[in-house]
């Protein structure tokens, strides 16, 4: 068995003294693990930093084996953002979430493309917080729990959608949701349509994270008696703190 593919490093765990067990999110083979011989060495360790894009070759005698992975660095995303706490937390959250939620060896090209786009926005330091929320929304859809944000669950209206029903995952209009506003999740406008003029506020991003976090927790993690990854919680904490500082400075 052998394949060659492009992958993004989601995790690298030490195995013995010299090897690493690396989890990749590949374009055509989904989340896939492999043993990297000598992965802890000075030359190879930087290649397998979380978030790096590699050209991977996987070999095994049988398909069900862990297999041997060899990779060549295509783009070192991690090194470009390692100095920035918020972007690094975003990268760690995205990788931990993909690692914990995507099934192994099941192709999810949209998840790969979404994570690639997020990494590019992290590199460019532009729109990455919004990109992260959109990536989680896309991940929910890839896992079969996509939200229906096209029309109101109660009235069928396609405009003025400001809430999401925590029960059905469908959008709810302002008028229909008003009596239940305390029980509904806020739907930030940037998840419906984005234009250059209406840059989302930090609170919009936090609302988006609360929305996707709710459904990831209830539909993906809770049924398996697991929690959302701690790296995601740290990322949300950091954004909340930055939003608070930004509010205080604007007063």
């Amino acid at each position: 068995m052998q394949w060659e593919d492009e992958g993004i490093v989601l995790a690298a765990r030490r195995h013995g003294e010299a090897a690493l067990i690396v989890q990749l999110l590949t374009r055509g083979h989904g989340r896939h693990a492999g043993l990297v011989r000598g992965g802890q060495g000075r030359k190879l360790r930087p290649v397998y930093e979380i978030g790096n894009r590699v050209a991977a070759v996987w070999n095994a005698r049988l398909a069900e084996h862990l297999g041997i992975l060899a990779g060549e660095l295509l783009r070192g995303h991690a090194a470009r953002i390692i100095e920035d706490p918020a972007r690094l937390a975003c990268l760690a959250a995205a990788a931990a979430l993909a690692e914990a939620s995507l099934p192994e060896r099941e192709p999810h090209p949209a998840a790969y493309a979404g994570l690639s786009a997020l990494l590019e926005s992290l590199d460019a330091d532009r729109g990455w917080a919004v990109g992260y929320v959109e990536w989680e929304l896309m991940l929910l859809a890839e896992l079969g729990f996509g939200l229906d944000l096209a029309r109101c669950a109660a009235s069928g209206a396609t405009t003025d959608l400001v809430y999401v029903s925590p029960r059905s995952g469908q959008a709810v209009s302002a008028a229909a949701g008003e009596p239940y506003r305390d029980k509904l999740l806020r739907l930030p406008a940037f998840l419906l349509a984005r234009t250059a003029e209406d840059a989302p506020s930090p609170q919009d991003v936090l609302d988006g994270l609360a929305l996707t976090g709710y459904f990831l927790d209830r539909r993906v993690f809770e049924p398996h008696d697991r929690d959302l990854p701690a790296a995601r919680a740290r990322f949300v904490d950091l954004l909340e703190r930055l939003a608070r500082i930004s509010r205080e400075q604007s007063l």
Partner: protein, 199 residues
């Protein structure tokens, strides 16, 4: 093979760098030098197992608590270097360029291994920081997990009136640019030092 001999080989094979074959060779080597090596080694290991413990102040391994570094009055108590592991402490000690004290975290924040802030000595570090420390140097590995931990500690220490610094990232001594990975070069460019101002 006798049970005790098999047990010895099995235990030796668990040591770093030793597999079953090299463990057999090591066991034979020890048995051939029973009095000159095997018995002193067993005694030294028993003593180390009994006496060496983690320092309650910094987490370093020593026979005394506080450890020799924490107890040394010549060391600057206002300077604390935070490292992931005792091996990192030893690496910095080998340089002979640091005369402050240490704080050993015992790992890094890791979602994969389920290591959170409560599993590391971060609370103890914050308490130390509030007790007359003027600078904390974050000497974590230049990995995503190491730097995530460093940023987290920086946030935790933000309210304290002390300086927080970190080790530089960049070109190693003896390194040739052509052979460096792009990450190291990017970090070196970002952390470049001004040799002469524009004026």
């Amino acid at each position: 093979m006798a049970d005790s001999f098999a047990a010895l080989i099995q235990l030796l094979a668990k040591l770093p760098g030793l597999g079953p074959r090299s463990a057999r060779r090591a066991a034979l080597f020890l048995l051939k030098r029973r009095e000159s090596l095997m018995q002193p080694l067993a005694a030294a290991m028993a003593e180390a197992a009994q006496r060496i413990r983690a320092c309650s102040t910094c987490g370093n391994l020593d026979t005394a608590d506080p450890c020799a570094i924490c107890a040394d009055p010549r060391r600057d108590a206002g300077l604390v270097c935070v490292v992931e592991d005792v091996a990192d402490l030893w690496a910095i000690e080998r340089t002979g360029a640091y005369a402050g004290r240490y704080h050993v975290l015992g790992g890094t924040l890791s979602a994969l291994d389920g290591i959170g802030p409560e599993d590391l000595g971060i609370d103890a570090l914050a308490r130390r920081g509030a007790q007359g420390v003027r600078e904390i140097i974050l000497a974590m590995n230049a990995t995503v997990e190491g730097q995530t931990t460093a940023h987290y500690i920086m946030d935790r220490l933000a309210a304290l009136p002390l300086q927080v610094s970190r080790l530089a990232h960049g070109v190693p001594v003896g390194g040739e640019l052509d052979y460096l990975d792009e990450g190291t070069l990017s970090a070196a460019l970002a952390s470049r030092q001004v040799l002469k101002g524009a004026g």
